[in-house]
């Protein structure tokens, strides 16, 4: 009886553990199945490099380059904000903040991560965009720049919390060794601790990047939605996620438009997948470097 129960529990947990794998495989299969038919209509190169996205025109045009550029553009902008803010916060928390400050600041940063993206989007739409429009005298407030600002703030907690973890994994003995030969705090930080935590900090940045590139709701609300290749950061744009979210409801199931949207999702999936693999490889190298590999 007991052995049976144990075996049952074992299978149960095995099933639970493998369920994420099953979901992943399922998602990949569906993505490929629904995305591939579009390449009967347009060639992969015309799809990826075409500059006109008019999926409902007659004849329709399925060039997603403006969408890819928009996604990369707002993500790059977000990085410019979230890397200094996130890494800076991590350094402050780790190096300068006392225990009391850390006890307040860390949870605050984590709460920032748990604010729903629609709240960020709403804030961007009704507060930030009108403000920027008047402050910078723009024709429209919903731009790549606005989106980058919001995405940057959204990704900051991810970067800060992972970078802080990376810093705290650096053995205390490195710090002692550095001080013991007469280094000061700043030298210890820049010459020993940051290099030792370097790969961990890169992982933080990459994960912040996937957070930004995959974000949908905020982008849909504040990016402006125009599917042209932007010429300035103050142009409205239509990142990949926004295109899918905005158009999926109108695309007839099984139409070319429908398959094209799935193909965009596939491209997006491949991009974030590459980010995650890179993050994993780097953090594995980092553990090796610190001699903590299994």
């Amino acid at each position: 009886m007991n052995r049976r129960k144990e075996r049952f529990i074992k299978y149960l947990f095995t099933a639970v553990a493998f369920s994420s794998l099953a979901f992943l495989v399922g998602i990949i299969l569906v993505l490929f199945k629904e995305a591939l038919p579009i390449f009967k209509t347009v060639s992969p190169s015309a799809f990826l490099l075409g500059t006109s996205w008019y999926p409902t025109a007659e004849p329709p045009e399925f060039g997603i380059l403006p969408l890819i550029v928009a996604s990369l553009w707002v993500t790059a902008g977000a990085l410019v904000i979230c890397v200094p803010l996130g890494v800076g916060s991590a350094l402050y928390l780790h190096e300068l903040a006392g225990n009391k400050q850390r006890a307040v600041l860390k949870p605050v940063i984590e709460i920032l991560a748990s604010v729903p993206s629609i709240v960020y989007g709403f804030f961007g739409m009704v507060v930030l965009a009108p403000f920027l429009q008047t402050a910078l005298d723009l024709p429209i407030g919903l731009t790549a720049f606005t989106t980058s600002l919001i995405l940057g703030v959204m990704a900051t907690p991810t970067v800060a919390s992972i970078a802080e973890d990376a810093l705290s994994y650096v053995p205390r003995s490195f710090r002692e060794a550095s001080f013991a030969v007469g280094a000061d705090r700043w030298q210890t930080l820049t010459k020993v601790i940051i290099p030792a935590a370097g790969s961990g900090i890169s992982t933080a940045v990459i994960l912040g990047m996937s957070r930004a590139i995959g974000e949908t709701m905020t982008v849909l609300m504040v990016a402006g939605g125009s599917a042209i290749i932007p010429e300035s950061i103050f142009d409205p744009v239509r990142p990949m996620t926004a295109a899918i979210a905005a158009e999926m409801g109108e695309a007839p199931v099984g139409s070319d438009h429908y398959h094209a949207l799935f193909a965009i999702a596939l491209i997006l999936f491949l991009i974030t997948f590459a980010f995650n693999v890179a993050a994993e490889l780097i953090s594995r190298r980092y553990r090796l470097k610190l001699g903590q590999a299994r």
Partner: protein, 291 residues
Amino acid sequence: MHDTLVDYDKQMGLENFHPALVKGPVGVNKNSLGEADLFGTEPKIISRGVNFYYGAKRALNNINISFAQRRVTAIIGPSGCGKSTFIRLLNRMHELVPGTRLEGEILLDGLDILSPACDPAELRKRVGMVFQKPNPFPKTVFENVAYGLEVNGVTDRQVIEATVVDSLKKAALWGEIKDRLKDSALGLSGGQQQRLCIARALAVSPEVILFDEPCASLDPISTGKIEELILELKKEYTIVIVTHNMQQAARVSDRTAFFLMGDLIEEGRTDNIFKAPRDRRTEDYITGRFG
């Protein structure tokens, strides 16, 4: 009540007659005001009336001891007796831990190292340290040894290279490693890593080297090499070594101090301590009755 007594002792200049120290024949090991038997040398470091606290917990009680110039002093005692805590005061490494408090006086060549005028970075260049576990940086062998020069503003490439080679030779590592200067230090064996850490300490030309249980994580052969090295280094440097291992203390040191529960119980020439300890507790410890 106890505290007032301590204060009273201090005012009267009596703190050197701590009960733990005055046992045994007066004159052999009376106190640390240069009257201890330091082989005729001037004391390099003097600790007077040192009390140390972690928060409210007192970790060291009235430590009075002198360290002979260019000799090896071993500090022995059971775990938690305060021996590592004590040597970390000698280069102010205790300041890296928040919430500690230190009373008393520590003099290096007569200079008060605890005074605010004493720059801890300057002090640590003069008083180097080798730690319990080898802690090379995740950098190359060369960079590890050059680190101390770099942070102290040495930029002349030739000086750096010459110092690195010289330090590695002094640390008895050069022969094994001269072709691997550009390899990661983490690829070395434990014993080599520890000698690399010694080379790193030597590169900034210290006068004193503190060894905090340097062989705790090493095999017997590596331990033997480190001990030989310590005997070689004492020709040029004043050495203080904390060790768990009494045979090691007997092999490498000229003087030995025995700590127990934050008190310095007894100190003196190593052969006297091991052959004719004056305090019962020292005898019990070195004969293996506890610890």
